[in-house]
Amino acid sequence: MNFSNSESARLVGTRILRILVCLVLVAAITWIAFAVLNVNALIVGFAYVLTVLVVAARWGMVESFVTSVAATLCLNYFFFPPVLSFTIADPQNWVALFAFMVTAITASKLSASVRAGAAEAQARRIEVEHLYQLSLSLMVVDTTKELGPQIAVSVKKWFGCTTVAFCDGLTEDIHIEGSEDQRLEHETLRAIATGKEPWFISRKRSAPVGVEVIAAPVALGGKVLGSLGMIGPSLSEPAIQAIASLAGVAIEHTRQQIVLGRIEVVRQNERLRSLLLDALAHDFLTPLTSIKSAVTTVRSEYKHEAEEDDFLAVVEEEADKLGEMINEATDMARIEPGKPRIRLRRIDVPALIRSTLERMKTMLEGHPLSVSIEEGISSVNADPDMMGLALRQLLGNAVRYTPAETAIAILASQTEDEVIIRVRDQGPGIPRDELEAIFERFYRGKRTQESVAGTGMGLSIARDIVSAHRGRLWVENAPEGGAQFSFTLPVFPEDRKS
């Protein structure tokens, strides 16, 4: 506060000093012309005009006006007869005096406006320079730290403000850089930042002269992100807008960086999980291979009793089951989330279903199966490994989430250019609010996540695979009860029914 007062006092002092100098100048010219050289009114008139012009160009309107008046008075007193009196005998001299005064004042006005224009241009140039500096410092903000304080510091630094406040539109937190100042109303800043107040730039002149209190919305693309309050030297409207825009860009940029960072972390996690699963599977598979080859050798190459063979058969079958589980885990781990790589070729639908059921024989045990495939169904354009994996997920789900002994049906039919394969079970179905969620990665059904083991990856992978084939996978609850998963696959081009 004191600072602002002494600032304006200093300005007034300078002006008084300048006016004194002007008066001294006029007095000096008058003395030289009157007492030393004794020149006539015309010559001294020119000298006065010249002085007025110099003063106007150098200092401005007020000084040049005072100079003009002083010069007019001196001209009248010292040079127009009768000299040393303010009376003028010749009416012609009245005209001359008036003309002199108009000339001096007009010239000083013109000169001052040129000067003001130059000053304005200079101010704009400095503003642009500062905006450039601001944009540079906002470009290198630290995205790991809070952005508001960093914006406030930069604006304060480059625009000579005494106080800068930034209000975040999301958190409504206000950060103040510089001295706390009552003139920046927190309520107003919040109202602008949250978009409650229509967004416009508010500027109020405040003491001392030349200082403004500014509140501006920080927006980008019509979306208000926050607000900026400044107390400092007056700025042009475009400059304020530019500052707000730069702040907006910085905020948006940082938010995007954070989102990208999060995506990258998720991606890295997925990769790590896959690598781990792959390594684990390999480690399990090595001893399992020895077990399997040993037990099959004993079973086939050595004579033993029938009941001994029963035990060996159990070892072999369980080793097979483990191997199947490990292979399934490896297959799943190898699929890149969202975009599995597929190699399309012509696939016979009945063969695909048959080989999948064959592979899942032990798992499907106890569930009556019905398979119905439309007569003369077209081949599909698909990756056999991937489609087998997807179909196994659906069948595996049907087995895991339905009571034992309930039937599972597989139906294949076709339209003009798509084959639709459905897996229908007779379980409890899927709650309405989870029909979409179950396809999310790592999502486990609320009702069953405690009672049924699973990774929450199967359906998400199945959907990724079907999507990569340009097909759709969805689930619905059959009217007669039970869940029905359906997916479409494009018919092999040369097989398309026309």
């Binding site: 020895s290 040993a294 050798t297």
Partner: protein, 233 residues
């Protein structure tokens, strides 16, 4: 018939132990080493008829070892793989493996594959009389020599057998499964990628322009056909 010699290459000692015992009991002479490098070393010292090669080994992996072996040998190679993806299978076959089996496998299945891969078309006793020539290519069914414009072309036994089978049935389309059963054995039939890889290798050796084959033609979704230039039997 003399006893076949088999080299087992795997870094897992337990599996080598099982295989050595089981294969010995089957009547083969078995050697075993724990790495690709050791396998190459062993092959320089001793003669084998078949190699069972693990795909995933520390150091020189199975695929690399297979390529190195193929550089100067047409010995039969069965690859042990753990992965089922098509790319891995094709990579193994491309490196020169004749067959592969996925871990964990049952021994009787491995025995069947070993028998199939040891089986060779017997050398014809009537040498000289069984040379078939088409275009610039000469195939001697007796000595298994193939030459183009008099220049010898080296084929692996499997490559020769596929060519031999096609030459025996010229100008007709032969389904994949039939070729597979004739060359690999009765247990085969679905391993179409074996044929794709092998026919590509064969084309590189005998076709003037392998990308536009003149002799071994593809019958899409069906099989292959050996096209003999017209005018010749």
């Amino acid at each position: 018939m003399r006893t076949a010699r088999i080299l087992v290459v795997d870094d897992e000692p337990q599996l080598r132990r099982v295989m050595r015992a089981a294969l010995t009991k089957q009547g083969y002479i078995v050697g075993d080493v724990r790495s690709g490098e050791a396998a190459l070393e062993k092959l320089r010292e001793e003669r084998f008829d078949l190699i069972i090669l693990d795909r995933n080994m520390p150091g020189m992996g199975g695929v690399e070892a297979c390529r190195a072996i193929r550089e100067n040998s047409d010995i039969g190679i069965i690859m042990l793989t753990i992965r089922k993806s098509e790319e891995d299978r094709i990579e193994a076959l491309d490196a020169g493996a004749d067959d592969y089996i996925t871990k964990p496998f049952s021994m009787p299945e491995l025995f069947a594959r070993i028998r199939a891969n040891l089986r060779r078309a017997p050398l014809s006793p009537r040498q000289g009389s069984s040379v078939i020539a088409f275009g610039e290519i000469e195939v001697d069914l007796g000595t298994h020599h193939v030459s183009i414009q008099g220049r010898d072309v080296r084929l692996t036994p499997k490559q020769f057998e596929v060519l031999n089978f096609l030459v025996a049935n010229p100008n007709v389309s032969i389904p994949h499964a039939k070729i597979l059963q004739a060359v690999w054995g009765p247990d085969y039939g679905d391993e179409v990628e074996y044929l794709h890889v092998l026919v590509n290798q064969l084309r590189k050796r005998i076709e003037p322009d392998p990308s536009r084959p003149r002799y071994i033609l593809t019958e899409p979704w069906f099989g292959y056909r050996l096209q003999l230039p017209s005018g010749k039997p």
